[in-house]
């Protein structure tokens, strides 16, 4: 019983840490092909995605699941 409770508390702590990382809001502005004055393009502008941000994000999201073996086993 005790260990269950402990596990739960730890898990809860995990949840807090994970969702609650108080990241500072930073507004990254992309202007005329530049970030903060430095030229760069966006990853979805590359040939494979042709500017389709949604497609790129879908690709990244799918790819990310490869790091989760619980998806397959």
């Amino acid at each position: 019983m005790r260990s269950r409770a402990l596990a739960f508390m730890l898990a809860l702590a995990g949840a807090i840490v994970l969702s609650g990382c108080g990241e500072k809001e930073q507004v990254v502005v992309y202007k005329q092909g530049k970030y903060q004055g430095k030229p760069d393009s966006k990853p979805w502008d590359a040939t494979a995605f042709g500017g389709d941000k949604a497609k790129w994000e879908a690709s990244i999201r799918a790819r990310n699941q490869n790091q989760n073996e619980y998806k397959r086993m």
Binding site: N66, E69, R72, M73
Partner: protein, 964 residues
């Protein structure tokens, strides 16, 4: 400057990390870690060697051209990592014939995209900066470039001269576990046609004791389950295995199992990185495994934790093991192993109460004079617990090299033909038939039928084959030439004596992508008579390889052979031409541009290897699996739907019958809960049907699911088939071929088909496992002290074997050595043991030549306990001499750590290129020295061989350490 910088980095982040982690675990004091230890001590060497050569801001054009930007299409080739037996798949991106990128194969059910340092850096094989580029020969003590023609002519002339003068047994062929199945198989065939059994490969010195011990217990000498299947385990017991460093990606499955609640215990003289991930670490004295396992078994029996029904149904002779275990009382176990009874009981209880439980062992158990008995104790433990033939159970024996399992199965073994057929007349006739050659011709290649049927010398003893007195060896000539074909010299013990053997050889031939360690050792003691031939790597040819779990994967060729190198099977063919048996050699095999086609070779393997089920894995089926990896379940290895539906990944052997019979492969051996046509099975009937008046066959009612025979039964042959009235189920053609044959020699595969497909029976019979292997020196395993024991009191109680006269053609000493060195502890009070590092593999030439790996481990070292070090005035990072009773001494850096106990020191075995304190760089062929060189631990290891397989003792010997 950079040295300082990195130094600061390591410390800074280390300290911060320590803070971060210790917040959670404040009780543990921080100690220096091996990585920053080595960084600090070694970085200078690296930077001076590489100073300014490749700064990022001005990286060379050549590298830039390899970027993926250029317009030509990128081809993706699927291959498999060549560094260990896990068998991680790799997608290689090739552009214009250049290997430009490496992508993880998430689809692979074995590694799901994961790699350790070695696998994540294999693309370096496409650079090959430190490879041997062209054939060379030793002239006046220096290596000179020669052409392939010159090399083949001179090598073959020299060997043919020796064959004529001294007979075919005067040449020793050291084959390789790095060869593909096709190449390893070809090697055995090649050596047979040369006319000798004097061939061997790395399995001798890694798991030969396992193969012999395990096969003699229950049938096959292999890992019973798989890395994947360990996800089903509720408890995992590692002993003599450091999987986190030796088989890193196996930890993906193991840590997953642990996350789901499996208990993990690691028994090892060192607190290994695997131990760091375990629930418990048990520090046993090196070489005391048998005593420890008897202690565990005593607790099992005393508490009635054994599986009585299982023992009744499926095991023979456990009562004798039980009796022996009762002798191992707590105090005795403690005295021999240093392990207190609570810990022994903890192991027993954990394994017994968290079933299915599995055990893992590696070189820590096998490389002892008692290796064959140690591994049988592990089998007995698992049998007592009823854990064998069960998902999540079994004996998970992690093999070493990428294809050591395959090379053991079908490669150059001195005592058997491909498929463990043995070397008796019947076996020779079987293979002569498969090869399409006349048996009499084959026999004529040997000196005599007696020599044809006598086990050859083992790789562990080739040096004695050269230097032992002629009248004491069991063949006419001494060895005059040795061909090192994909095998490192520094992996064999008694290095100091090896150079003496190299000195007196007539001819030494080294065929390897990285022949440098052998080359340098030879050049140190010789002026001529050494030839180096550049072989292609496994990325430069196609072929299959067998992972530890018996799954066979097909590698596509990634790039063309670099420089002037040639694939091993091409070199075999070219030499066969010179020797005049190329026609017989490739009778069934198409040869294109001197390359015998790997697919054809595999088909020939398929046609002959019935015993262990290498018959169903046709190249077509294997390639289909490689393309459809995503359809296989990573827990069961079974394909769910798709073109391979119902099959297990890589058709893990045994995959019985013809490819057309569509056996799915066997994920877990001896599993009676499945039908034999779904990978089920039972223990093998290979040891007769009766012993001491009791039946060796399985008890009534114990059989694989759906078998028509519900009792134990012997193996199938034409007689049994007729008796059962099943003969007429063969086709007429099958009948013709099967007449007078058994399931192993019936070339039609009909006997197997009828037994399995029609009647659900196992062709090798259904018997009990043997807890007592009566044909071994210690039928009931006994603890015996190492020859160089640091406990003379235990030598009296547990002495070694009597000396043997002609054992694998060699006189082999036990008691006489042990007695001679009984008091060795006075001068050499520490146990010297060896093992792996994650960054390097085997002898290490290949991996130490890869800058991405070499940078991570730049120096060899000895791990020594703080107390032991302080008693000797040794401080961390001092240079020290490790002195051996053989008179050899090694100069290495001291890594003071509690990882080892006070009685033990540890040296990793991947280094070579230093000789007793001296860098051997001047002896290497120019440009082919590996980046990192260091003292080889085996220069200092001592005499000692297993009493069944001639495995060398590397894990328990004696030494002293002094400040340099």
């Amino acid at each position: 400057m950079l040295v300082k910088k990195s130094d600061a980095v390591a410390r800074r982040s280390g300290a911060r990390l320590a803070r971060g982690l210790n917040a959670a675990d404040a009780s543990v004091p921080g100690t220096l870690d091996r990585r920053s230890f080595l960084k600090r001590s070694g970085l200078a060497a690296g930077t001076s060697a590489f100073a300014g050569q490749l700064s990022f801001s001005m990286i060379g054009k050549a590298e830039a051209a390899e970027g993926k930007s250029a317009a030509t299409a990128v081809e993706v080739k699927r291959t498999v990592c060549t560094h260990c037996s896990v068998g991680c798949a790799i997608d290689a991106e090739v552009q214009n014939g250049v290997w430009v990128g490496q992508e993880p194969v998430f689809d692979s059910p074995i590694n799901l995209g994961a790699h350790c340092a070695k696998g994540a850096s294999v693309r370096e094989h496409g650079h090959g900066e430190h490879r041997l580029r062209y054939p060379m020969k030793l002239v006046d003590g220096k290596y000179k470039r020669i052409s392939w023609d010159e090399a083949l002519n001179e090598v073959s002339e020299r060997l043919l001269r020796l064959r004529k003068e001294s007979g075919p047994d005067s040449v020793y062929w050291v084959g390789s576990s790095k060869h593909s199945n096709e190449q390893a198989y070809f090697m055995r065939k090649f050596v047979s046609m040369w006319g000798t059994n004097n061939c061997d490969h790395q399995a001798r010195i890694c798991h030969s004791t396992t193969v012999a011990g395990v096969a003699n217990t229950w049938g096959y000498g292999a890992m019973t389950n798989s890395y994947n299947d360990m996800q089903n385990s509720k408890a995992i017991f590692f002993i003599g295995s450091n999987a986190a460093e030796a088989h890193p990606v196996s930890m993906l499955h193991i840590l997953h199992a642990k996350e789901l609640g499996a208990k993990v215990i690691v028994a090892d003289p060192r607190f290994t990185r695997t131990a760091a991930k375990a629930d418990h670490h048990v520090r046993l004295r090196s070489g005391s495994d048998i005593a420890l396992i008897y202690g565990v078994l005593r607790h099992v029996f005393e508490n009635g934790w054994e599986d009585k029904k299982y023992l009744e149904d499926r095991v023979w002779g456990m009562d004798k093991i039980r009796d022996e275990s009762m002798k191992w009382t707590a105090d005795k176990v403690l005295d021999v192993t240093n392990v207190p009874d609570e810990q022994v009981k903890l192991i027993a209880e954990t394994l017994a109460k968290n079933k299915p439980s599995t055990v893992v062992w590696c070189m820590g158990q096998t490389q002892h004079t008692t290796g064959n008995a140690i591994v049988r104790m592990m089998c007995n433990l698992q049998l007592a617990l009823g854990n064998v033939g069960v998902a999540g159970g079994g004996t998970n024996i992690f093999r070493g090299h990428d294809n050591v399992q395959g090379a053991t199965d079908v490669g150059p073994n001195p005592d058997s033909l491909p498929g463990y057929y043995g070397i008796a007349t019947g076996s020779w006739k079987h293979w002569a038939n498969v090869w399409g050659v006349d048996y009499e011709w084959l026999k004529g290649r040997y000196v005599s039928q007696a020599m044809m049927e006598k086990s050859g010398i083992t790789v562990s003893r080739w040096i004695d084959g050269v230097t032992e007195k002629n009248e004491l060896i069991d063949q006419d000539p001494n060895l005059k030439a040795v061909v090192f074909w994909g095998h490192a010299p520094n992996s064999q013990t008694r290095g100091k004596e090896m150079v003496e053997a190299m000195k007196v050889l007539d001819t030494l031939v080294v065929i390897d992508p990285y022949p440098s360690a052998t080359a340098a050792m030879a050049a140190m003691v010789r002026k001529d008579g050494v030839y180096l031939l550049p072989a292609a790597t496994q990325f430069e040819c196609a072929g299959s390889c067998t992972a530890s779990n018996r799954s066979i994967q097909w590698r596509e060729k990634v790039i063309e052979p670099l420089f002037e190198s040639k694939p091993d099977h091409t070199i075999m063919y070219l030499l066969a031409q010179k020797f005049g048996f190329d026609k017989e050699f490739t009778k069934n095999i198409k040869v294109v541009n001197n390359e015998p086609l790997p697919e054809d070779i595999l088909r020939e393997i398929n046609r002959g290897t019935w015993t262990i089920g290498y018959t169903g894995q046709s190249p077509e089926r294997l390639k289909l699996h490689m393309k459809n990896m995503h359809t296989f379940n990573p827990k069961t290895l079974k394909a769910q739907g798709g073109p391979c539906d119902g099959e297990y990944f890589g058709l893990p052997w045994p995959c019985y019958g013809t490819p057309e019979m569509k056996h799915p492969g066997t994920p877990n051996l001896y599993d009676t809960s499945k039908h034999v046509m779904d990978g089920g099975g039972n223990f093998r009937a290979n040891f007769g049907v009766e012993r001491d008046g009791t039946s060796l066959l399985a008890a009534d009612g114990s059989h694989s699911v759906g078998a028509d025979l519900t009792t134990g039964y012997p193996e199938f042959d034409h007689v049994l088939l007729k008796k059962l009235g099943w003969w007429d189920e063969l086709t007429d053609d099958e009948k013709k071929k099967a007449e007078g044959k058994n399931w192993k020699t019936d070339p039609s595969g009909g006997i197997i088909r009828v037994a399995m497909k029609v009647h659900g029976c196992h062709p090798f019979g259904n018997a009990k496992a043997r807890a007592v292997v009566w044909n071994f020196p210690d039928p009931v395993p006994l603890h015996r002290e190492a020859l160089y024991s640091t406990r003379p009191d235990l030598v009296d109680k547990y002495p070694s074997h009597d000396d043997k006269k002609a054992f694998w053609r060699m006189p082999t000493l036990y008691k006489s050595v042990q007695q001679k060195f009984k008091e060795t502890v006075k001068d050499f009070p520490l146990i010297l043991t060896s093992g792996r590092l994650v960054e390097f593999e085997g002898g290490g030439e290949e991996t130490r030549s890869n800058p991405w790996l070499a940078e991570l481990q730049q120096e060899n070292f000895v791990e020594i306990n703080p107390k032991t070090a302080n008693d000797r005035g040794i401080r961390d990072r001092d240079m020290v001499w490790v002195k051996s009773p053989t008179g050899a001494q090694l100069k290495v850096r001291a890594l003071v750590t509690e990882r080892v106990g006070t009685d033990t020191v540890f040296i990793p075995f991947h280094f070579s290129g230093w000789w007793q304190g001296k860098d051997m760089i001047e002896y290497y062929p120019s440009g082919a020295a590996p980046i990192v060189r260091g003292e080889a631990v085996n220069t200092a290891t001592t005499y000692g061989y297993d009493s069944v397989t001639m495995m060398q003792e590397t894990k328990t010997t004696a030494c002293q350490v002094v400040k340099a």
